[in-house]
Amino acid sequence: MQRLDSKTGKAKWYRKDGLTTVISSILSILIGLAVGTLIIIAVGLSKDTISTNGIIEGIKLVFLGVFSTGRDGGVLTFGFNPVNFGNMLFRATPLIMTGLSVAVAFKTGLFNIGAAGQYLMGTMGTLSVGLTLAWKGCPAWLVWIAALLVGMLLGGLWGAIPGLFKAYLNINEVITCIMTNWIAANLVTWWFEAHDVFKNSAEGGKVGYIIPLKNVGVSTPKWGMEALFPGSQANGGFWVACLIAVIMWVIMTKTTLGYELKACGSNRHAAKYAGINDRKNIVLSMVIAGALASAGGCLYYLSGNTEFFWSTYMTLPADGFNGIPVALLAANHPIGVIFAGIFMSMLNVAGLQLKYLTAYNEYIADIIIATIVYLSAFAMFFKLMIKGRRKANEDGKNVNAETVEEGGKA
């Protein structure tokens, strides 16, 4: 139902679906940044301790935080900062994975809000298996691979629970995902509480943390990151995440499996009528989503020097939920997820710069992210605005299924 150009008989370039998706994402980002800026100005004006210069510095850091090189003689300086860039890519790794997880589930018409629980299960599997195998004397590369695979397997199984509930009992996956999240949080705490061997008791001041994998000689290889970004935490995990994103793109667009998954997402009943096993595909989609989300946790902790706070029964990892904005910003496109993940982590880095260099704090980044999620909830509205359509009869209903339907409707 798109307006076509009278001469060429094709849709005008600025009305193409792909482009409007990108534009509406950029619009969401800009409005999010504007909200952050407004809060900075408002708070700055209401507090006597923050000068006009302080406000301007705050705004500068929100937009250019990743280029910040600290202060020189009291003035903020900007330039290429390898540590910030490297840390940005390092922090982006789990976000890309959880974003992929949410995106793949979205494509199958499922809202995977359980990425946090799957992430925790993956973390538990990776750390337990990694430490145990390393103590048994396995070579480091084997431990690395085994820990990643076991973590992903555990996450996949955890993701299967909401999938099974959805496929066989038709229970809303959002509810079951929330339940499994908190069960996972308690389960992981219980597991580590009961197994003292994994706790880091050697280093004082590290009470409540699991032994980091680098202590047993396991860590993700750098694969060129140390030359590009010296002094940062960046490692090969980022390349692994990118590779998985590309593989997911191939699976979703070029294989029968991907086609079946998307068909179930567009219309479960039509897919069933076409001879696709809808139940199998729903479960499979959640298993894949679970494995992807847990891979985020695995890669993050396999990097070696990150430490896991095991008593997590009261809180869920933020990366699990931040996969949702990543997927939404990327319009569920696996390759787009890479860039959206990097953008999210850039905001986080900017937030930390705000904390260290100004009177503001890092939570402004979270406010911006939340605003972007809120706006993407009515991405449809933006799209309609851009396309100049006033009626929303056909596709104004469901954001979940929207990207899948686009192909057929345009």
Partner: protein, 335 residues
């Protein structure tokens, strides 16, 4: 025993308030996933208001009046915050789960941002005294000596009890009456079951859904303040330990009806309570800590509410009373 019941109430009361909040929204046809976020916001605003009153020179003798006023103010704040969800879910017909998730992300971010701006740390507490000294009913409230006792039965109701308990019971009664005995309540429920039919009878679906979400925000905000008052010593830390999600579980467990929800929240409150105090719990007063001798990890008790909810969901999925139009944006043209 008195101790156990009172402790259970401590955990059950905020759960009940917030689960009832969930019912108000869901019965009008809007999934309110933002309960957790609204609670966080309510807890923060409650602490801010209390600090304001204390700074204005209120004394502990006026604590109970202050609590009532703050609960009301916090409710209004919660309702205003929930308008964000209502706008995206009702007017823009956006996906309600995403809108709710956005508020869940927004609330802790906003709250922590302002807590840091106010206090330069991640906790905001009362500027003077603790929650118990301000809001608890105790013998000294009636001018009696500190260790006075009325005997176990009366103690249960008025000794070391937060009056929020009674506010909550009142809310429970009012919500039940509203949903089942008033015209507006009936209309609101009809919008959750079949908005097209409701609209054809002249009911303004948008208005009813706004009412449902705002009521929900009001109660969830109150619940957030109650949580911070009773279990967090009136501090706000940008989280409510998953209470909003637990309340969702209670709501589903209670099959979307107020009475079952009240019972469900007592049950889940008991689990929470046991998990928190099981090591020092002496049920029959013989000096033996029975539950800790059982050797069950407290995390099992913490996990149980969610596991039970999953099991209940699995077995009742066929005759679940979930509002039929829940989560579906209302569009006049799809009648």
């Amino acid at each position: 025993m008195v101790f156990l019941i009172q402790q259970t109430m401590l955990y059950a009361i905020p759960l009940m308030l917030v689960a009832l909040a969930g019912v108000c929204a869901e019965r009008s046809g809007v999934i309110n996933l933002a309960l957790e976020g609204i609670m966080i916001f309510g807890a923060f605003m409650g602490v801010v208001f209390c600090r304001g009153f204390i700074d204005a020179g209120w004394q502990t003798e006026q604590g109970l009046l202050m609590m009532i006023i703050v609960m009301f103010l916090v409710g209004i704040c919660g309702a205003i915050f929930s308008l964000l969800l209502a706008f995206s879910a009702i007017n823009l017909r956006a996906d309600q789960t995403i809108g709710g998730t956005a508020l869940n992300l927004l609330a802790p971010a906003l709250v922590l941002f302002f807590i840091y701006m106010i206090a330069q740390q991640n906790t905001l507490g009362l500027s003077k005294g603790g929650a118990a000294s301000w809001f608890m009913i105790r013998p000294s409230t009636f001018g009696l000596p500190k260790d006075y006792s009325w005997g176990p039965f009366i103690d249960l109701f008025i000794n070391k009890v937060y009056p929020a308990t009674y506010v909550c019971i009142l809310v429970f009664i009012l919500v039940s009456i509203f949903l089942y005995k008033t015209r507006t309540g009936l209309r609101m429920r009809s919008c959750g079951e079949n908005p097209q039919a409701a609209d054809s009878l002249g009911i303004n679906v948008f208005k009813m859904r706004y009412l449902g979400v705002c009521l929900s925000g009001f109660l969830a905000g109150m619940g957030g303040f109650t949580y911070s008052m009773t279990t967090a010593n009136c501090t706000s830390t940008g989280e409510v330990a998953g209470y909003g999600f637990l309340a969702l579980a209670v709501m589903i467990f209670g099959n979307w009806t107020p009475l079952n929800i009240a019972l469900g929240s007592l049950l889940f409150g008991l689990f929470k309570c046991i998990a928190a105090i099981y090591a020092t719990l002496d049920i029959n007063g013989d000096g033996v800590y029975m539950l800790s001798q059982l050797g069950i990890s407290p995390y099992v008790y913490r996990m149980l509410p969610y596991v039970i909810t999953l099991i209940v969901l699995a077995f009742t999925s066929k005759n679940s009373r979930v509002p039929k139009a829940e989560g579906i944006p209302y569009d006049k043209s799809t009648r």
